[in-house]
Structure formats: C-alpha cells, structure tokens
C-alpha cells in the first residue's frame, strides 16, 4: 500500500526536476478545478482524476479535494466521486475512513441511488472501524422501501460477513436475508439467495438450509427471478436433499421449464438439479418411466448448448463428459452432434473426441471410425494424436469392432507420418494387452516402422510388443540388439522395457540370447544409477541364476486383461461431480476442495496455523486415505470390549496401543454435548519420553463428513509420563470431508485419525468407530402425521430388522426408554399396544442427523421378556445399520 503513495508524490525521487514540477503543476491545476464553482468544470476535473487513476497514477493526494465535491445534489458528480472512493476503498482503506461521515449521511439521502451507493461503497472498505458505522445504515437499507437499495444491502451482508461474521450474527442480518427470499422484487431475492449461499460456503455453516418453507419460497421465486437469480436459486436447490422420491419429482417438474432458457447458465443449473434428484427417484416401475421421460427431455437442451459460443461449448462438453458417464442413455443416439466441425477451436475438438469415445457403440462404430480417420489427417498434431489414440480405445472398448479399428490403424501407419505411427504403436500395444494372441499378424508391419520411433513411450511400447511376442518374431533378438546399442541414452521407461523384453526373449530362446541378457543385466546393475532399473536388474539376475522356472512364471506369467476404464472416473467422485455440474469443479473434474484454497473466513487465525492447515489438508486429500491407510490395523472393532474407563457417555474404546504411538495409549469415543459433536480421548502416557502437551489432529475422509474445528489439541494439564489425561476435540460436519459412498454398501463407521505429538514429533494413526447417536440433531422432532406418511413411503427394501436381547431390566420400562432416548436426540413419536397380543407394545421413534438423514424406528417390547424387536426404516439405507446399532447400544448400556 505504501508503494502506491510514493509513486506519485515523488518529491525526493530521482526524477528530473522538470518532470517533478510538471507533475506538481498538473496536480495543482486539477486541485483548482476541483474547487471550481461551475459544475461542469468540477465534473471534468473528477473525470480527469479518475482517468489518471486508471492508468496507474497515484492521485491519492487529491483525496480531500475530491471528497469535497461529494457535497452536491448533482448525482452525476456524486457517482464520479464514489467511483474514485471505491477504488481507494480497496487499496487505501485508511484514507477512505475520512469519508465515513459522508457515507453515513448519504445512506439516508432521499435518492435511493445514493443510499445504495453509500452502502455499497462502505461494504468494500475492509477496515474494522468502518464496520461499526456500517451496521446502522445496513440495517436500515435492508428494510428500505426501494428495491434497488435492498438488493445492494443484501450483497453487503455477505461483504460484512467476510470482515466481521460475529457482527452479522449479532445484528440478526442472516434472518433478514432469509426474509428477503420472499421479497416482492426479483433482484432482491436473487441477491439474498446469493449472499446466503456465499456465507454458507465460506463459513461451512448451513445458513442456506433449505427447509420446507424456504423450498416453497425458492420455487415461487424461480418463476419471477432474473436469469442470474434463477441460477442462484437452482444452485441452492441442487444442494437440498428432497425427503423422498415424490418430493424430488415435484421439484423436478417445477424446474424442467428452465431447460428452455436462452441463458445456458440457467440450463446447466437446471440440469444439475434434475440429475441430482433423479438419484432419489428410486427404481420402481412407475418411477423408471418417469426417469425415462426425463431422460428424453434432457437431451435436446444439452445438444443445443453445443450451438453456443465456443467458450460455453467447452464448459458444456466437460459437463456432458460427466453426464454420459453417469447416464449414458441420455445422449446415446446423439453421437453425430459431437463430431468435430472444421472451424471448432482445438479445445472444443479435444473434448468432443472424449465424448465420442464414451458414446461409441457397435451401432455407430463405422461412422465413428470414418470420422476419426478423417481427423487424423488434420493439421494440429495434438488433435491428430488424440484421434489416433481414440481409434485404439474404440478397439479396446468394442471387441467386435477391434478388427476394423486395427485395419484403420494399419492404414494410418502406412502414411509414415512420424507422430501418427508412434501414436498407433502405443495404442496397438494396448490392443494386444486387451486381446492377447489374436492380432499378432500385424507385428511384421509394426517392425517395418522401427526407425520412425523416436519418442520414449512409442519405443517402450514397441519393445514391449517385441518381448511379449519374441517367439513369433524371427529376428526378435536382433531387433532388441539394435535398441541396446543406445541403451545408456534412452529414457528410463525405455530402459526398463528393454531389460524386461530381453529377459523375456532369453527365457523363450535361451541359446541365442545368453550374451545379450548378460550385457543388459550388466548395463542395468552396474552402469546405471537409476535405482528402479538397478533393482529390477538385480531381481531378474537372481531369479535367472537361482530358479529359471520361477523366472518364467514371474516374467512370462499371465497379465491381467486391461479394460477401457482408463478415463473413467471413480463412481464416488462421479457422484460428487454430478452435484457440481456447471461449476469449475465439473470443468476440472476434481472435487472443489482439491483446488479451492480454504480460507479462514473472517476468523482471525494466525498465518502459520493457516498454512499448516492447507498443507495437511492437501495431504489428507490425496488418494482416499493412502496417507492414513491402516490396512488391517483396526485393533478394536467391537464396542465395549474394553471396559469404559471414563465416566462420560462416550463409549470409550481402546483405539491405539502404546507400541504404535511411541508410548501413548489412546481410548476414544464420541458424544454430543449441547449440539456439538465431540471426540473424547483418554490418553495414557505409558512410556512417552516427554509430557504430552500439544497434539495436532487430522481426520481422513469419513462416512459422516466429520472434521475437527481446530487441528490443535492441547492437553491441560500436560500428561506426564506414567499418568493419564483427557483431550477433547470438537468436530463439525463438512461435505468436503465426506468419503464417497457407494449406494448399496453399508457405510463404514470407521473414522481414521492421525495424530502428531508436537513434543516428540511422532505421528501415529488409528481408527475409531463412530457412534451415530452423536450425530443425531436436537431438532429431530417430527409431526406424527408426517411420520406416518414417511413410514409408508419408504420402500420395504430399506427396512432393517433385529432383536436386542439381554436388556437390563431398568431399560424395559417404556417411559424410561423414551426419556433416555430423548436425551440422545431420539424422539418419541407414538406408542400403542399391539392388538391381539397381550402385553406387547410398539413404540415409534424418530431421529434425524445433523446431515439431514432421517431414520424411523419401531420398537416392540413384550412384558416379562428382556428383549426388544427393532424395525428401522430409512432412505439412507447405507447408514441404517449404524442407526440400528446406536439404538441397540443405548438400550443395552445406559
């Protein structure tokens, strides 16, 4: 900031005298003009100031002079002054503070444009002191009569939240925003939704929670809103999870007309809502009809997106790539529209190719091959290579067409165009791996083109082919020998392939290649300083010298057949991305947390800690638990195997032994206290050399989306060697931490945890089973009628049965159970005696997790029996088992 200031004043700089005075003169002149009495001179002067500002000159010394001009009834001049102010609001906030009085005064001006201007500008000044002045005017502006002011104020709340979240909460601005969703003016609605969504995103709190009432408001506003407002509303809807298939269908019906919108942003967001909700529609017969008709409706708007500007096309294609993976039927008959046009930009062509490969089938393969062949004669090298590679991928994908694909590839090899040949060789290797021993007849053609190959990947592929089919190539050893001449200069990938191929050749034909193999092994183990190559060399050497038969089994063993899944996304990731359609996440094909830098939103955290946070976060994110993979180290699966050591309700289990953690024994469990989820750990310092004082904790992605609010845990008082102590970690649920769930598999209760002992630097890992009752929300009540509806609507297949026996006698009294369950956020709905069954009674309970999963339970008690039958229903079937276990646990162990 200081930099800008010296730039212009330039009193003691090295500029020549003449230049300096010139500048001063200019400024002086401007200053005089700013104080002129004629309006148009003033206006022109401010314009000149702004002109200098935009070309990078520093005009901050004129600040007070410009500010003086604001005392005017002339709105044009006023707007110009604000244009000047807003610029310095960002770069020199302390200067702008001088203008606070003006802002406050203008925020009560008679002209709504000026009121809005004042609020808008104040929101841009990121100085704590100004926020004190902002709250009053903002509160008024949010209730202003003029919609222009209200809409500006709505956005301003988001700005304020970024600077001072606590002020927003204190003033109840969030509630006001919620009220604005049902405002009569569409722009106000749009901004209120946008502001709430932004706050929800940056705070991680669910402030844009879509309840039944909010849902109705949003749907009503959808028809009235501006195009951008429609996008914001649709994006909020996409994050909402409908209670059941029927509700989902209802919303889809309201959203479908948006597919006809001329703004492709609206179309894409509508597609996102529909695809996300389709998941919930289930698969009964009626529903699958509905889904089929929806599928038909989705195709035309998606195709139409391809007629937009190339930039839109690109984003659309990246998204369609996801959609065809998720629901291939939607576009199965539309492959022609993805054929490249002559004048498509290259980035569009590349994406189209990807989709062509995804849509290719036996029906259209001939057409596709014709196209791909055509593309491979184009000018752009990358595009040509990708087209050639695509032909190979078609072969791998469609067995029946493989022969035709190979025919085309051979034709292309005949062209002798260097990069075409190389790319062909690379894909032909894949085809050989996919269909072993079927197309070796073409090896001769490939061998004719050895000289063309100069790229490592192509060379390595060719060498692999030679090694693999050494027995069918008469002069395999000679061919390899030619490569060996340049062994030392080759790329490591080629060297490794050469080594393996030579060994294969030797095993198949030991007589002629004895010398050669010896030479390669020498080169690999003695001459090379590449550790991979040396290691592989030594392994082969030892294998060959000790047990040639074993060597044969290892080196010539059957290889796993490859599938065309190289470019397929993991189903879990795909589901995440479908929920992210239209966003950057869907363009990058990465979950948002992989590229959005998490920021401590407005909460002042010290910098080091934040950095640390990001770093760990990245680590945790790579590869679904590679870092924390515990394999079979799960010590203690069964609940309660170790007696509770601590007197809370957290079911404490031993989760980590001293041998793994350098002397710390850990017992851990979860419970909810006043709506906060806590993990409680008892630490026994068995033999850790130092006192346990500070710990850093990191959770792997888990089925519940749990993550710690702070990564630092401090043990107070410190735990000296030989003693034990307690550490508590507060947890929140964030969607980012949600491990991908597969639909039909029960969710794993396991939460994998890494802890770093800051004193010793030791990092240790363990897993704790999460008890779902800690996730039940305090507001999990439900109307009886709604409960009955839900109970009926849930498919019988999503029902879980079980019997709990050996219930302690005090837990057989239904009233006690109801009260105790209530303490654990499991809410009583109804009870009734079972007709025709003396002494039996059913009790209904309901629980909802913080993550909005709902479980409905029916418990049947019988007098004089220490057991109870449980029947549990839920749409979130993968979590059903965990909910049932939670109930069982509470019944058994109070």
């Amino acid at each position: 900031m200081a930099k800008g200031k010296d730039g212009g004043g330039g009193g003691n700089s090295n500029d020549s005298k003449y230049f300096t005075t010139q500048k001063k003169g200019e400024m002086h002149e401007l200053r005089m003009e700013l104080h002129a009495t004629e309006k148009h001179v003033k206006v022109d002067a401010v314009k000149k100031v702004i002109a200098s500002m935009t070309v990078g000159k520093d005009v901050s010394m004129l600040f007070t002079d410009v500010l003086n001009c604001v005392q005017t009834g002339n709105i044009e001049l006023k707007k110009l002054v604000y244009l000047y102010l807003i610029n310095y609001a960002k770069t020199q906030p302390e200067l702008t503070l001088l203008a606070v009085n003006t802002f406050v005064k203008d925020s009560a001006d008679a002209n709504p444009l000026i009121r809005a201007l004042a609020v808008r500008t104040m929101g841009c000044i990121r100085v704590d002191r100004i926020t004190e002045y902002l709250c009053e005017p903002l509160g008024r502006a949010l209730r202003d009569d003029d919609p222009y002011v209200r809409k500006t104020a709505a956005v301003c709340v988001a700005k304020l939240y970024d600077i001072a979240p606590e002020l927003v909460a204190e003033r109840g601005f969030l509630d006001t925003l919620h009220d604005l969703i049902s405002d009569s003016n569409p722009s106000v609605v749009a901004n209120a939704v946008a502001a709430l969504s932004e706050i929800a995103e940056s705070s991680g709190k669910d402030v844009m929670k879509v309840s039944a009432a909010v849902l109705q408001k949003l749907l009503a506003a959808l028809n009235e809103c501006t195009e951008w407002g429609q996008v914001f509303i649709l994006d909020s809807l996409a994050k909402y999870t409908p209670a059941d298939g029927r509700e989902a269908e209802g919303i889809i019906e309201r959203v479908t007309p948006r597919l006809q919108h001329a703004n492709s942003a609206v179309v894409m967001s509508a597609v996102k809502v529909i695809l996300s909700y389709m998941e919930l529609m289930g698969s009964s017969n009626i529903r699958s009809d509905a889904i089929r008709s929806l599928t038909r409706k989705l195709a035309p708007p998606l195709v139409t997106l391809l007629n937009s500007e190339p930039e839109i096309q690109y984003v659309a294609l990246r998204n369609i790539n996801l959609i065809v993976q998720k629901r291939p039927h939607i576009l199965e008959n539309e492959i022609k529209v993805f054929f490249c046009k002559y004048n498509d930009p290259i980035y569009v062509k590349m994406e189209k190719l990807e989709i062509i490969i995804k849509l290719v089938s036996e029906k259209n393969i001939d057409q596709v091959l014709l196209e791909l062949k055509e593309y491979s004669t184009e000018v752009d090298v990358d595009f040509v290579r990708k087209s050639v590679s695509a032909i190979g991928r078609c072969a791998v994908k469609l067995e029946r067409a493989a022969e035709r694909c190979i025919g085309v590839l051979l034709e292309l090899i005949q062209t002798k165009v260097n990069y075409v040949v190389q790319e062909s060789v690379i894909v032909i290797k894949d085809i050989f791996r996919r269909y072993p021993n079927r197309y070796e007849s073409i090896i001769a053609t490939l061998c004719d083109n050895l000289d063309t190959l100069d790229e490592p990947l192509a060379k390595a592929s060719m060498i692999w082919i030679i090694g693999e089919y050494a027995e069918r190539i008469d002069n395999a050893d000679e061919l390899l020998d030619t490569f060996l001449e340049t062994f030392e200069e080759e790329d490591p990938a080629v060297q490794l392939q050469l080594l393996t191929a030579t060994v294969k050749c030797f095993l198949k034909n030991p007589e002629d290649t004895q010398d050669m193999v010896q030479r390669v092994l020498d080169l690999a183990t003695e001459e090379s300083d590449n550790p991979d190559l040396r290691d592989r060399g030594f392994i082969y050497w030892r294998l060959l010298s000790t047990d040639p038969e074993a060597a044969k089994m290892v080196v010539l063993g059957d290889k796993p057949v490859i599938e065309d899944d190289t470019f397929r996304l993991d189903p879990g990731l795909l589901n995440v991305l479908i929920g992210q359609i239209a966003t950057l996440s869907s363009v990058y094909h990465k979950p948002p947390e992989a590229f959005v830098v998490r920021r401590a939103a407005g909460i002042s955290a010290d910098d080091d800690e934040e950095d640390d946070d990001d770093e760990n976060y990245e680590d945790g994110d790579t590869g679904e638990g590679d870092l924390l993979d515990m394999g079979g180290m799960n010590i203690n699966d069964s609940r309660g195997a170790t007696a509770s050591v601590y007197e809370t309700k957290s079911p404490m289990n031993k989760v980590c032994g001293a041998e793994k953690s350098n002397g710390i024994e850990v017992y851990a469990g979860f419970r909810q206290v006043n709506g906060t989820i806590r993990m409680e750990m008892q630490m026994n310092n068995i033999s850790s050399p130092a006192e346990i004082q500070g710990l850093a904790i990191q959770l792997n992605k888990n089925s519940f989306g749990l993550s710690p609010t702070s990564q630092q845990i401090s043990c107070n008082p410190p735990i000296a060697p030989g003693s034990s102590g307690i550490a508590t970690v507060e947890l929140v649920v964030t969607p980012n931490m949600l491990a991908p769930q597969s639909a039909n598999q029960p969710a794993s209760p396991q939460v994998q945890i890494a802890i770093k002992n800051m004193q010793t630097g030791t990092v240790f890992y363990f897993a704790v089973d999460f008890n779902l009752e800690a996730l039940f929300s305090q507001d999990g009540t439900m109307e009886r009628s709604v409960f009955i509806e839900s109970w009926k609507s849930i498919d019988d297949r999503n029902e879980l049965y079980g019997t709990v026996s050996d219930i302690p006698p005090e837990n057989l009294d239904i009233d006690t159970v109801i009260n105790k369950f209530k303490a654990n956020n499991i809410f009583f709905i109804a009870r009734r005696p079972v007709p025709n069954a003396e002494g039996q009674e059913v009790v209904y309970f309901f629980m909802r997790t913080i993550t909005q999963m709902e479980f409905l339970a029916e418990l049947t008690f019988k007098q004089g029996v220490t057991a109870c039958k449980i029947c549990l229903k839920t749409e979130n079937s993968s979590y059903g088992l965990l909910a049932k276990q939670a109930i069982e646990y509470l019944l058994r162990d109070f």
Binding site: K79, E227, I312, Y314
Partner: protein, 450 residues
C-alpha cells in the same frame, strides 16, 4: 463469485480492470502483473487457450474473446463456470450497446462510462442489472461515439465478430433520457429483426451429406420509442421436436427463448409477445438437424494425369431458387505440401459477379472467390497441379477438405418464417419502421475428399 474483471487489448494491455474482492490477500498491488501472466499463458496456447484454467496464483481465470479483445476475470471459488462465461458475454454485449462498437478505441474513450456500468452490473462479483434497458435508469455518463469502421477494422477478427445485421452505432441517445424523461424526441422509430441461420454441413467425397445442422436464431435491435409491446408470429404449423411432426411442416429439434418472451400463445398460435429492451437481444434460438436441402452442393473430382500431375475440378451447384443468390463466396482447397505449380481456371456461368481463383503458396491452398452465385447455376473451377515428387496415397490425402464460406441474403433454409410483427402503439404520428431480414450463413460448410 468472481474477484475481478478485466479487458485486455489484442497486445495484452489492460484497458479496463476492476477488482470486486480480495481473494489473494494482498491489496491488489500486483494485480497487473497477474493479468500479464495470464495473457502470456493465453498466448502460449497460441490463442487456443481453454476458456477456464488455473494459474499458479491459485486462482481460476475465465475469459472470452470478442473482436480480438479478451474479456476475463479471476476467481478463488468454485463458481459456476457457465454463469461466469455468460456474464462475460453479457458484459461484452452491454459494452457494445453503449459504445456502438466493441473496439479498443471505443473502450478507451468511454472508460468512465464503462466503469460506471461495471459498478451497476456487478456488486461483490455477483451479477446485478445486466440488461441494457434497465441499466439506463442508473447510469449517467454519456457515451462518446467512435467511428465504427475506421480504426477498428484491423483489430476485428471477422470470425468472432458479431453477426449482427445492424452496423450503425447503437444507443446513441440512450442514456440522455435516464430516469428523467421518455424518449419521444426526433429519434427514428425502427426495429431490426434478423432471422439468422448458420449452416454446418459435411459432404462426403461423392457428394452425400454426412452431417447437417442449422443453428438459427431470431435477433432484434430495437430503437422503438416508449418500448411498446410486440407480437411476433411464426409459422402456424411449426413443429417442435423431431419425430412428432407431419410431413412437410417446418420442424425444429429444439427451441429456447429469452425470458422476456411471454409464451402463453405459443402452443396454440405460435405467437410470442414481449416488450423489446433497448439494444441487441436474441428472442429465440433454434436448432434443426438432418433433412433440409443444402443451398450449395460441392462436387469435387481429382484426376491423376501422370505421376506428378493432378487435375482438380470443383463444381459448385446452387440449389436454391433462382431469385436468391449466394454472396461473398469463398472456397478453399488445401493442396499437398509438395505442390510445385498450380494454375487455376474458372468457368463462370452468367449472372455471377467477379470471380477468381489462385493458389496461395503461403497457406498452401487454392482460394476461389466469387462475388455472387445465382440460384440454379453451376460454377466450375479447374486447377492443374504439378507436384515436386510422385503422387502417393499419402500425398493425395493432403488435398482437402474443401471449406466453403458464403452468405445468402433474404433466404433461410429451415422455412421458419415471421408471419407478422405487430407493434402495439397507437399514438398519433407513431410510424415505426420494421426491417425484417433473413440471412443464411455458412458456419462450417465442408466437403471431404477422402
């Protein structure tokens, strides 16, 4: 949403830069150096940069190119990419509406106006008022009109320039009125309606149509005082959606509408009603695939005279009615790299304007230009090619594909018609002018030779 917005000149200078929020932490001190890095990256991709990519500063940059200018922005969040790109397009359109033309000069001259516009169009990076019409009431600066032809023509890349029919500077008097008065001045009341169809057609070497689509739209530019309501009627028998039409009726695969359009009468009478906003806007877009008569047929033949000599003949047959004609036609035929000499002769049929064909060595292709091709006529171009080496199949493959560019005024292929355009204004002396134009253009009109 987005953190900043900028416009870069074709040379990479920042013409407009506006910051909406601080995502990078520092106070925007290095703003310009980041934009420069971004521009270098775009150049590195040789002008084929994907519209959204991430830069080393951790921000995603999105951009669109219009008339050689880059409209771009950066964001740190997982924003809706389509929304941002649509927004950038909208900004470019509004700038054009206000400046008359979209060029570096026009933007530089009008920068105060444009900053004022930007303040109204976006707040904290969120789109606010983005319609030219609605912006009028809160924008006070006057546009400075820049001569649209003079200096800009060099800058404009004809491929990305808007296909809009009206080239006169727009909204010249638009915001003098502002909120203050209605515009019943001496301004001419007129409205321009374009039914624009862009053709994508791919022919095989033997003249079959392999793939064909029409991207159509109806766009308007309104200068009507008082913004009266309009009723636009299309063909009554227009069929939406393939496979549910009767034979012969004009059919479109898909259609979408601007949200100002009231569609209550669309199902029954194929009539739209709306209040046209000021400036340029698209009323509807439609798409047709498959069965339509292509206006031109390309019939190529290649003959090998001897091992080093080829004779290429291209015949263009205009299949539209005789009262229409193709204008500004160019045909490009790439020749093999080893071409030594190529001499072209043109056999023009009567009625066609100036026509010529020559081999452009730098581009390695024959460029055949025809001022005019009347409907129902045939044009032929013959080219004798001498190669510097013997012809192989590979060399043969280097010839083609033939790419054709043209425009057909007052003609459209899909048969979608505007039955009438009614202006509901009954003021005395209100004489609106309606200019309805049909234009067919080539988007990608290609014939393969292999």
């Amino acid at each position: 949403m987005i953190s900043n917005f900028f416009v870069l000149s074709p040379r990479g200078d920042t013409i407009i830069a506006k910051q909406y929020r601080n995502d990078r932490g520092d106070a925007g001190a290095h703003e310009r150096s980041h934009t420069e890095a971004f521009f270098r990256k775009v150049k590195f991709w040789d002008d084929h940069a994907p519209p959204a990519f991430m830069m080393p500063d951790g921000l995603t940059y999105l951009h669109v190119k219009r008339n050689g200018l880059i409209f771009g922005c950066a964001t740190a969040r997982n924003v809706s990419a389509v929304t941002v790109i649509e927004l950038l397009n909208t900004i470019a359109r509004v700038f054009k509406d206000y400046c008359g033309t979209l060029s570096e000069e026009a933007i530089r001259k009008n920068f105060i106006l444009l900053y004022e516009l930007l303040d109204e169009m976006m707040d904290y990076g969120y789109p606010q008022i983005t319609r030219t019409q609605n912006l009028k009431s809160c924008v006070y600066n006057e546009p400075i009109i820049v001569d649209p032809i003079g200096n800009t023509s060099k800058m404009v890349n004809p491929k990305t320039a808007s296909a809009s029919a009206v080239h006169k500077p727009v909204i010249s008097s638009v915001n003098a009125n502002g909120r203050k008065s209605d515009s019943s001045g001496p301004q001419k009341n007129e409205i321009f309606v374009d039914i624009l169809e862009r053709l994508n057609v791919l022919f095989s070497a033997n003249g079959y149509v392999l793939n064909s689509t029409i991207d159509g739209c109806i766009q308007m530019k309104s200068y009507l005082a008082g913004n009266p309501q309009l009723r636009l009627a299309l063909n009554e028998d227009l069929v939406i959606g393939k496979n549910n039409g009767q034979y012969g009726a004009p059919t479109v695969d898909d259609i979408n509408f601007n949200d100002i359009v009231n569609l209550t009468e669309f199902e029954s009478a194929r009539t739209l009603s709306f209040v046209p906003p000021d400036g340029e806007f698209v009323v509807l877009n439609y798409r047709v695939t498959g069965d339509f008569t292509t206006p031109f047929r390309i019939i190529p033949s290649i003959e090998e005279v001897d091992s080093k000599k080829l004779e290429i003949t291209v015949l263009i047959r205009a299949d539209m009615p005789a009262n229409h004609f193709g204008a500004n036609v160019t045909v490009e035929i790439p020749l093999p790299k080893c071409t030594a000499v190529a001499s072209c002769t043109v056999i023009a049929s009567p009625g066609s304007g100036a026509t010529s064909a020559e081999f452009i060595r730098a581009d390695g292709k024959i460029l055949w230009t025809l001022k005019k091709i009347p409907g129902g006529t045939e044009q032929t171009m013959r080219c004798k090619v001498t190669l510097s080496q013997s012809c192989t199949t590979q060399i043969r493959r280097e010839i083609g594909p033939i790419n054709m560019n043209f425009e057909i005024p007052m003609f459209n292929v899909s048969n979608l018609q505007v039955r009438y355009l009614r202006i509901a204004e009954n003021m005395v002396g209100y004489t609106p002018y309606r200019w309805v134009r049909y234009v067919t253009q080539s988007s990608s009109y290609v014939c393969r030779l292999n």
